[in-house]
């Protein structure tokens, strides 16, 4: 069974700072997803990482995948308040998607 672990679970950071969220998974994952969820809202797809070494960037967020290490990272550059949300990673094994526990990010002025 695919297990997905994220850390940290809670992250409070100052505006303008950089930080990385880590996502480890236990067995082979066909791909890795990152989602954003605002309080009381649905999930917004951020990135789908398909292969080893994949790197995708959108604005201040950059996601990468290392399938050998079974690790994906979500790097935040020069954080702004609008990035405050919960970020989930999810792995996929044979059409069975498993989510991490989520990282609740708070960006303070």
């Amino acid at each position: 069974e695919l297990k997905v672990e994220q850390n940290p679970l809670f992250l409070s950071m100052q505006e303008g700072k950089n930080y990385t969220i880590y996502c480890n998974y236990s067995t082979t994952s066909d791909r890795l997803y990152w989602y954003r969820q605002d309080p009381g809202k649905s999930l917004e797809s951020l990135f789908v990482l398909l292969s080893n070494g994949a790197v995708k960037q959108e604005g201040r967020l950059m996601a990468s995948l290392d399938t050998k290490a079974r690790l994906s990272t979500l790097h935040i550059t020069a954080a702004v308040h609008d990035l405050s949300a919960t970020y989930f990673c999810a792995g996929l094994n044979n059409n069975d998607m498993r989510f991490g526990a989520g990282t609740r990010l708070t960006v303070k002025p």
């Binding site: 917004e44 989930f88 059409n95 989510f99």
Partner: protein, 117 residues
Amino acid sequence: EPEVTQTPSHQVTQMGQEVILRCVPISNHLYFYWYRQILGQKVEFLVSFYNNEISEKSEIFDDQFSVERPDGSNFTLKIRSTKLEDSAMYFCASSYSGLAGVYNEQFFGPGTRLTVL
């Protein structure tokens, strides 16, 4: 922009009652999913559906749950006899291809908050 819609946004029911949660996936999507999220916890996969049959289901999706695509647009999740622990946000999602396919991005609906009393 096309989107996944869900109704109702909030459903309150008594324990033991049956509920049906409804979803309208994006019109040209072929794969449909249900997830649940207990308040403050992670999102859990329930079931995926393709070509009028279940393609994957998790251990959570037991005999109390069923899914159906009764017509060309709706996708429903039925819980036959609700329990207190079924209280959660239920998300529907759809994708053009299966999760292992090329066009594998899932689009999520706004969710239905189910409260079982």
